[in-house]
Subunit: 158 residues, 2 copies
DNA sequence: GGGCGGTCGTTAGGGACCAGACTATATGGT
DNA sequence: ACCATATAGTCTGGTCCCTAACGACCGCCC
């Protein structure tokens, strides 16, 4: 497999609407994002926790207090229904606890258990260790450059 | 939401194993990949086809002849089990047809139907139009730079 | 105070992905 | 010719995500 993905010179001629540089970027962006995600998944494998679950623990830990699922769904940029499912599995593993909100009876507050708090730390350490590893080949300057370029794109994409 | 995602200056101090530039890149890579995918999904929405299905049609069209699922799974970098599922839905929509391989009876050959071939063209046009749109803010030079940086990362990631 | 629209979390159902087990077939070494 | 191994496709059961449709509850406005 070549890296990065390249498209042939006569590509633009073949597909009138296509810019080969745009297509190349798009494919490589998608592929790289996927590879990054794959790294996180396999780093988390031994902890028996999913990336989504790990992110939820991190959000709870950062908040420093119990949060409603709605808040988690916004931070995760994911539907409330999905959060329900992720919380279900976290509850089953004893990392998190659901309690009714003291005043608003529509809401639930998600509490981090002792084990959940420890797991949040472990997840964070594990993920960061992985990042440092595979980001190795890029210099500080290149990293800044990459972040900058991605930022420009995100402004247009969001 | 800020773009790109930035992490605070005292981040590295807080998490001993973390390099803030690596973390920034990782988060922005994941986010950007996700946004790109989201764009493709919504561009394909009116066609009633999933990104995975669209890619399979493209692979078949490019090959110019019927292919075994195994070949598709390799091009897609996805498990054979997943290809089975994607093919099932394409078959249901009449875009693709399964036929036994003439000589190797373990294999199946996936044929593109007339409708499937037309759909492959439509998908390609739709996706390319979208790319040209959101890649707009990056100059030719910046695109090349981005592709280059992603390539370096991919070599380490794969 | 009685309704009514909006928000909360959950449920139901569906698609894309995976690992692992299973069946059928092909093939290479003896 | 025979058997071990490898390969092809599928099936099972699991996660993660979605949309749509609930029922419960809050608040505001008349």
């Amino acid at each position: 497999m070549e890296m990065p993905i390249r498209v042939s010179r006569d590509f633009a001629a073949k597909y009138a609407d296509a810019s080969s540089s745009a297509t190349e970027c798009a494919m490589n962006l998608a592929r790289t994002g996927d590879l990054v995600l794959g790294r996180v998944v396999s780093a988390l494998q031994p902890l028996e926790i999913s990336p989504a679950g790990g992110l939820v623990l991190g959000i709870l830990k950062d908040a420093g207090e119990p949060c409603p699922p709605n808040y988690i769904s916004e931070r995760l940029i994911v539907s409330r229904a999905t959060v329900t499912g992720v919380l279900d599995t976290l509850v089953k593993r004893g990392l998190v606890r659901r309690e009714p909100h003291p005043t608003d009876r529509r809401m639930v507050l998600v509490h981090l258990t002792k084990a959940g708090s420890r797991m949040a730390d472990t997840v964070r350490r594990t993920v960061h260790r992985g990042e440092a590893d595979w980001m190795g080949p890029l210099s500080e300057h290149e990293r800044a450059q990459l972040t900058e370029l991605l930022g420009k794109l995100q402004r247009n994409l969001a």
